[in-house]
């Protein structure tokens, strides 16, 4: 043991440093909760009925890499001056911060649609809320399981 002390302590130090580095990448804060998402939506739409439909939200059911998860949405709408999608808000029920992104469209946009890539700290629901120019609000949610480092999420 004493002959290889230097090599083993160096190896131990590297493992410790790597573990330390890995730890720094983990989120500090407690995660958001479904209630926080509900509260955020209430801030904008407390007096509105949140209806089903209109929103197509695409996310993988299982995300292999939580750092880069593709998300696409499209909201059904003629996108005319009189009838268009004003806003689409995306929320996370399990990341440190509940808001993911908000999109604001004008009638110049031919589709109320976009694709982005998001980070997911853990398996969770993603919620999409769409506000129409006539005031109607729609909501949908999708569950995403996240596998990190080969473990089930």
């Amino acid at each position: 043991m004493s002959g290889s002390l230097t090599a083993s302590t160096r190896r131990d130090f590297m493992m410790f440093a790597a573990a330390g580095a890995a730890l720094t990448l983990l989120p500090l804060a407690a995660s958001a909760t479904p209630q926080q998402v509900t509260d955020e939506i209430k801030k904008l739409y407390a007096d509105k009925k949140l209806a089903d439909g209109k929103i197509k939200l695409d996310l993988p059911s299982i995300a292999e890499n939580g750092l880069v998860v593709p998300l696409a949405f499209e909201v059904e709408s003629p996108m005319t001056d009189k009838d268009f999608v004003k806003a689409v808000h995306l929320y996370s029920e399990g990341n440190p911060v509940p808001q993911v992104a908000s999109f604001f469209f004008t009638p110049l946009a031919p589709k109320a649609a976009a694709s982005i890539r998001i980070r997911l700290a853990q398996s969770q629901n993603i919620v999409a809320v769409a506000e129409m120019s006539n005031g109607d609000v729609f909501i949908t949610r999708k569950e995403v399981k996240v596998t990190i480092g080969g473990c089930g999420g």
Binding site: T24, V97, L108, P110, K111, A114, R117
Partner: protein, 108 residues
């Protein structure tokens, strides 16, 4: 960090009224403010927080991004081309920097 560089993929020509897909990417760490450095200090949040698309000066769409958007943020969306004109895409950083990319599309 190297200067964030935007990349935009979209055609240079279109038919009048055609709907085209625009794919955008910008190199940026999107530091979430959740990480600590080796001394235990929180690395402050620094992300691109807003994206805007205009055509001949008029806004088509705007996106507010938060810390869950992945590093090197990718975003694709659709625009229509009523006539020959210039699209301007801009990215606003937490630190106030604005990165822009301009694209002329000719209707023929």
């Amino acid at each position: 960090m190297a200067t964030p560089t935007p990349r935009v993929r979209m055609p240079a020509t279109a038919k009048a009224g055609e709907v085209i897909e625009v794919k955008t990417l910008i190199s940026h760490e999107m530091e979430s403010g959740q990480r600590k450095d080796a001394s235990g200090n929180v690395i402050p949040r620094k992300i691109i927080k807003q994206f805007t698309a205009t055509f001949n000066g008029k806004e088509i769409l705007r996106a507010d991004w938060y810390t869950s958007v992945s590093a090197n943020p990718y975003q694709s969306f659709f625009v229509k081309v009523p006539e020959t004109g210039t699209f301007v895409f801009s990215w606003l950083d937490d630190d106030g920097s604005v990165y822009k990319s301009e694209h002329k599309v000719t209707v023929g």
